[in-house]
């Protein structure tokens, strides 16, 4: 009896949190919904004739510009060192007003490219706002038209830990690593602009590019609890065949959820965004507070989101209890395993051999009557 009842002696310990997923329904903590207006105000950095090729004698690159487009072509010769060619242009972009950079480009395969921005200090010198590891640098050329859309406030704050109001200069470059063959390259720039999506309340039906579900939460008190995923249940109304993507924005970063296509026949739908696919940038306005789930339209227009519930799933790594000793096992564990269990085994064995001996002695005396066991 004692072998199996010992754990119940420890019932007086304080409550503990089970290891594993802890679900927390935070629907009540949702702030009023807001969204991005479906149409953006555009600041176009047109007239590419102001862009110029930076000196790079070995590549034989040629820059062709017009008001509406820019093409950079050339050849990287055989070289045991990395090679690069760059172009630069001056611009004036207030990123507080127009925070979203939107670039349409086509860079040939086999080379990489990047975009770098600078602001200007009061003495006229340029301050670099880029980092080699940010999302705008060392991107692989695909040989196909490509849209790059990022929130510049987020990128610059991540790079410099500073808040910058405007950009004064941009550089684009094409590069390759050491190579034993020469390689032709081209970079076409067909659009270079900054966008501003106005934020507005989204509690009623409207036309939205993105809808924000922001939670008013304090961080979990225990450092042993880490946010694993967020589960949103609700009904989205959108234009026919609209495609949309869910993002979770937390203190630790931006995480991408699934891509969905609007289906008017679906009632409430469950969306789960986990903290697995971390992105280094976000394509739209940052939410006013975190954590937030953002539903962003990839095509079409969002009309309304009717929320049913939001549940945060935290992972508790270990049992949490101040009463349990560091070894996790209370004294009754050792008592049961090292005292009660061996005693029980010894008693059972003693009884078994006592019965066996008795049975054998009876068998010797009355060999015919003893049943076989």
């Amino acid at each position: 009896m004692l072998v199996f009842t010992a754990p119940f002696l420890s019932i007086s310990f304080s409550r503990i949190t089970l290891p594993g997923i802890q679900a927390s329904n935070v629907t009540q903590n949702l702030l009023p919904l807001y969204g991005e207006d479906h149409s953006a105000v555009i600041l176009s950095i047109g007239n590419y004739t102001k862009w110029s090729l930076n000196p790079s004698p070995s590549t034989g690159a040629a820059l062709t510009t017009s008001i509406n487009s820019l093409t950079l072509k050339g050849t990287f010769p055989v070289n045991s060192n990395p090679s690069a060619v760059s172009i630069s242009g001056s611009l004036v972009a207030n990123i507080r007003q127009y925070p979203i950079l939107c670039v349409q480009t086509n860079v040939s395969k086999g080379v990489s490219y990047g975009i770098r921005f600078y602001s200007q200090s009061s003495d006229g010198s340029f301050i670099a706002l880029w980092k080699d590891t940010d999302v705008l640098n060392h991107r692989q050329g695909t040989g196909q038209p490509e849209n790059v859309q990022v929130n510049m406030i987020q990128v610059i704050e991540a790079n410099t830990n500073k808040s910058v109001d405007s950009l004064s200069r941009a550089t684009m470059y094409v590069e390759r690593g050491p190579g034993t063959n020469s390689i032709d390259f081209s970079l076409q720039l067909s659009s270079f602009k900054f966008l501003s999506y106005r934020l507005e309340p989204a509690q009623s039906r409207g036309l939205y590019h993105a809808i924000y579900l922001t939670l008013n939460l304090t961080a979990p008190t225990s450092s042993l609890l880490t946010l694993q995923s967020i589960r949103v249940e609700g009904h989205l109304e959108a234009s026919t065949n609209a495609a949309y993507v869910l993002y979770l924005i937390d203190r630790s970063g931006v995480y991408k959820g699934g891509t969905y296509t609007y289906d008017p026949s679906t009632a409430d739908q469950v969306y789960v965004v986990s903290l697995r696919e971390k992105l280094s940038s976000f394509s739209d306005n940052l939410p006013t507070a975190v954590p937030s789930v953002v539903i962003v339209s990839a095509s079409g227009t969002l009309y309304q989101f009717n929320l049913k519930s939001i549940v945060l799933n935290y992972m508790s790594r270990v049992e949490q209890s101040s009463s349990l000793p560091p070894s996790k096992d209370p004294p009754s564990f050792y008592l049961a395993i090292f005292v009660f269990l061996p005693i029980a085994i010894a008693v059972l064995l003693y009884d078994h051999f006592r019965r066996t001996r008795f049975r054998r002695s009876v068998e010797r005396q009355f060999p015919k009557d003893l049943p076989h066991g």
């Binding site: 420890s10 019932i11 089970l18 290891p19 789960v272 085994i345 078994h352 066996t356 066991g373």
Partner: protein, 370 residues
């Protein structure tokens, strides 16, 4: 009747309730996949691209499949050492046979087919063993109870329970047939499939104490015990510590009985496991202490008692029911008692069957039947 060899396996011996229950298990898995209610949480491992049967690969399956594919270095912090190599080795050997599938689906297919074979062979050995030491009526009831036991789906899932059960019952069968030197290596292999497998040395040793041919039985007992040492030596050569498996297992975030007593949660997975181990303990203890207890079955009930006690203290509570699967005496005790209490047998069958349906659907949908 020649029982010493599995070569002359009559088809009617394989056509039994345990093998038949695999159809129900697959049906339940299919039903769980199609109609199941998801937890809404991101699954710990992605689903395998294999229609319906992907529901067999849940929780620890990912570790077994990872070890089969990439070896013990596949997981960070030596976590793979919490799992023994027997079952992953079988997956490794068999999955290339399903060459038209990608690796992960091929592993699931290999595990599923192997488990079917293992269950079939285990059922034959279990019936023969039970007939030999208790009687034919108990043998049939034992299989029936195992067929509907709440965790019986683990015998088909990508888990090592079917392999462990086969090796354990085969080992005990040859032990009872007076072939301890066949029983020993089979028990050794069982110890390389499930961590508690090495405890099979206990009944062999206790049996040796009251047998005439002591030396061969003690040798068999030592061979079985060596399985624990073998894996420890393997971990020493690969990680530099003999105790890696022990350390990883103890560091694993589990919900133990202490966890439960301090914070009782009365949801289905906990209740199913609590009920399973409760009944197992009750019947095994009764079989040990009842006045007319058989001397022949005593070593096996003692072994089960020790294993249950250890599992009760160090095992994940939501795995208790699964851990009972490889202990035939748990089923013997219930089958034996129900011979004189037919209503109880019916009650057990119905209760277990209901719990089995629920547990299977919970497992398929990533609820914590682990």
């Amino acid at each position: 009747m020649r029982m010493s060899s599995i070569r002359h396996l009559p088809l009617r011996e394989v056509a039994n309730s345990l093998v038949g229950s695999r159809v129900i298990v697959v049906f339940l898995i299919a039903a769980g996949v199609v109609f199941g209610y998801r937890t809404g949480q991101f699954p710990p491992i992605p689903d395998v691209n294999l229609p319906v049967l992907y529901g067999l690969a849940r929780w620890d399956s990912g570790y077994y499949m990872g070890i089969a594919r990439l070896g013990y270095g596949a997981f960070a912090n030596n976590r793979a050492y919490a799992f023994l190599p027997g079952f992953p080795l079988i997956l490794r050997l068999l999955y290339p046979l399903f060459f038209w599938l990608d690796t992960a689906p091929a592993e699931v297919m290999a595990g599923f087919v192997w488990n079917l074979v293992a269950v079939a062979l285990a059922s034959v050995y279990l019936v023969r063993l039970t007939r030999l030491i208790i009687g034919p009526e108990v043998a049939n009831r034992t299989l029936a109870l195992l067929a509907v036991y709440p965790s019986t789906f683990f015998l088909s899932a990508i888990y090592p329970e079917a392999t462990a059960l086969l090796l354990i019952v085969a080992s005990l069968y040859y032990l009872e047939r007076g072939k301890p030197l066949v029983a020993g290596p089979l028990g050794f292999l069982a110890g390389l499939v499930r961590p508690e497998g090495f405890l099979l040395s206990v009944p062999i040793f206790v049996k040796a104490l009251s047998e005439k041919r002591k030396l061969r039985m003690i040798l068999a007992s030592i061979i079985v015990f060596l399985s624990a040492l073998t894996f420890a030596i393997f971990s020493y050569y690969t990680t530099g510590s003999l105790f890696t498996a022990l350390q990883v297992t103890r560091a694993w975030p589990i919900c133990s009985i202490f966890c439960f007593t301090n914070n009782p949660i009365f949801n289905l997975p906990f209740m199913i496991n609590l009920l399973s181990i409760g009944l197992a303990t009750l019947f095994v203890v009764y079989s040990l202490v009842k006045p007319n207890a058989s001397a022949r079955t005593f070593p096996y009930y003692l072994w089960s008692f020790i294993t249950i006690a250890i599992v009760f203290y160090v095992g994940e509570m939501r795995s208790w029911s699964r851990l009972m699967l490889v202990l035939p005496p748990v089923f013997w005790a219930q089958a034996e008692y129900s011979l004189t209490h037919p209503r109880l047998f019916q009650g057990l069958m119905v209760s277990y069957a209901v719990m089995m349906c629920l547990a299977t659907i919970l497992f398929v949908n990533w609820y914590s039947m682990v």
